[in-house]
């Protein structure tokens, strides 16, 4: 079984942005592995760095003075390569073929004046150097694979003729067109209605298992994480503050930020007040020294938590949190509202 064979291994990824002439870190010490047939969720609020992580891996940060450091080893059939050390030309061969990506808004990601079939064919022809007829046949199979009814007709449709859910299925079909080893899905269901979201989540889960792909699923929604992933990285202010198996992280969260996040999800009976994290995420240029969460943390100690970034501490096999006060935190309790 290929269960634990890694597809991607990210080590100490750091991204700095040039802001006003100085480099400011946007991501620091980001490390994780994704195995074949595994889905890793990257979850965080706005400004946590979750999207920058996926764009950095694909070298899609653009020319805005972004500097990347660290290693991101992609295990290809032909051997390992470091994604951060590839030329743009080499990345063109990797993107779409080895790593594919799907985005939040399928309408802006699709070309409005091209048929669905032509758009799916484009990547196939580009990467697999095959004839259009052959590519179109593949496209038909892919459209059936993502469970779109009446595949032949769908191939001739334009994006505006499809619903949001169907457009996202087209995006998934395009992403899978060259059988990638790794799929990066960045908030793929955020723009969809809840019943349609559930269908797409289910489809992604099923396809990922069937095709034995690795998947990185970027989202702000902890409930969505629970539907698709086996492991989760919780990001805050450009760092992974906690990482571990989904059930473990949700049932026994270690980091005070993860705990606050879980407790602020409304899910109890009405009338009870929700837990609200105090303060707000610091802007990128004004991040504190020491623990990034310390200014908002009720357990933070002056000195211990305010001088250097905490290193990840393992709390259980495969479950780690960046907090120096783990031994002194009380046992986690869900919000009182939750106790029925």
């Amino acid at each position: 079984m290929s269960e634990h064979e890694p597809v991607l291994s990210v080590q100490d990824l750091r991204v700095d942005f040039s802001i006003g002439g100085a480099f400011v870190p946007a991501l620091e010490g980001v490390s994780f592995d994704v195995a074949r047939g595994e889905t890793l969720a990257v979850v965080g609020e706005s400004g946590s760095g979750k999207t920058i992580t996926s764009l950095a891996l694909m070298n899609l940060l653009g020319a805005r003075g972004a500097r990347r450091q660290g290693r991101a080893i992609l295990h290809r059939a032909s051997g390992p390569v470091d994604l951060l050390a590839q030329s743009e030309r080499a990345m063109c061969d990797i993107r779409g073929a080895e790593i594919a990506m799907i985005f939040q808004e399928p309408m802006t990601s699709l070309n409005p004046v091209q048929t669905v079939g032509d758009q799916i064919c484009e990547a196939i022809i580009l990467h697999e150097k095959c004839k259009r007829k052959e590519a179109l046949e593949r496209a038909g199979d892919l459209v059936a694979l993502v469970r779109m009814p009446d595949p032949k007709r769908q191939l001739r449709a334009y994006p505006h003729q499809l619903s949001g859910g169907m457009r996202q299925r087209v995006m998934i079909a395009m992403a899978l067109s060259c059988s990638p080893r790794l799929l990066i899905a960045d908030e793929p269901t955020t723009a969809l209605d809840v019943t349609i979201q559930a269908q797409i989540l289910w489809l992604l889960r099923e396809l990922q298992e069937k095709l034995d792909m690795g998947m990185i699923f970027v989202t702000h929604d902890l409930g969505v994480v629970n539907q698709v992933a086996s492991r989760v990285c919780v990001m805050y202010s450009g760092q992974i503050v906690e990482q571990g198996p989904v059930r473990q992280v949700f049932d026994t969260p270690s980091h005070p930020y993860t705990r606050g996040l879980i407790r602020s999800i409304p899910r109890g009976r009405s009338a009870a007040r929700l837990y609200a994290l105090p303060g707000r995420v610091p802007p990128i240029a004004a991040r504190p020294r020491g623990c990034l969460f310390a200014p908002r943390c009720q357990h933070a100690l002056d000195g211990l938590c305010t001088t250097e970034r905490p290193a990840p501490v393992e709390v259980a096999p495969g479950h780690a949190a960046r907090c120096k006060r783990l031994d002194h935190l009380p046992a986690f309790e869900r919000a009182p509202a939750d106790v029925a």
């Binding site: 859910g165 809840v194 629970n226 409304p266 899910r267 009976r269 994290l277």
Partner: protein, 330 residues
Amino acid sequence: MSRDLLVEIDGLNKHFPVRGGTVKAVQDVSFAIHRGETVGLVGESGSGKSTLGRLLLRLIEPTSGEITFDGQSVSGARARELRALRRRMQMIFQDPYASLNRYFTIERTLTEPLHLHGIGRNADERRRIAAEMLEKVGFGPEVLQRYPASFSGGQRQRIGICRALMLRPDLVVADEPVSALDVSVQAQVLNILGDLRAEMNLTMLFITHDLAVVRQIAHRVVVLYLGRVMEIGPVEAMFDCAAHPYTETLVAAAPSIDHVIRPAELVGEIPNPLSPPSGCPFRTRCAHAVSACASADMSLREIAPNRFTSCIRAAAPGAFGQAPGVQVPA
């Protein structure tokens, strides 16, 4: 008519002519809101929930139907009467970036409604009223001179709430007020809304697609699908035991950290609103549908105290398929 009712909506319809036909965005909707009550209006895109919110404030004109506010007709009000009514009903919008004028200081944004309605003798007094209200949403008076650009999304939404409350309205229509916010900020804003509701004895129509949020804030819920009311009932009872299969589907499909969605719970696409299915619009996706559903009359039935459903197959909340008097072909 009960004095306890602040809002009554009766047989409300809104049709939008579009190329290729008519979208019946709101169809034969009737319900009432009690004083001090929060009614959650839940549905997916195209359900008509935002249209209904706008109709209620008469920001758009209904095709037919009657809206009554505190015994006065909203739908029949003339411009002058409407202006007086509007002072008592306000709206909070979804997008805190688009709904504040970025060229106005917070002071100007907050005091403008006071100006329009002739409240406060002079600028000083209006500023004082604004500062008082700002304090209720957790800001000091120093923010009066700032512009929206210097606030985060959550802060802007608190300012939007503050603006809606400046005239001390009786009714607030909140259209997805926390949907654009991160979960931790969402919690702050929901708490503030809950506190102010109690303090100012507000009546609310809370429009959302998020069932967890509705469960947090609403007393009763109206579930809409393709412009039709599917179910009306008290929030907890509805979550425990739905009275319409659509509600059941919505509850099951909501992603939660506590359960994993089963694939059997979700079928089909939301139909084209230009040609919705006849009878019950949900029948094309419903596991309990029978041929009688295609010609079903969509009027609400009370199948348990305060539990209203349009499903002809609902015998009791949570029990579908045994409705008395419905012929089920073998």
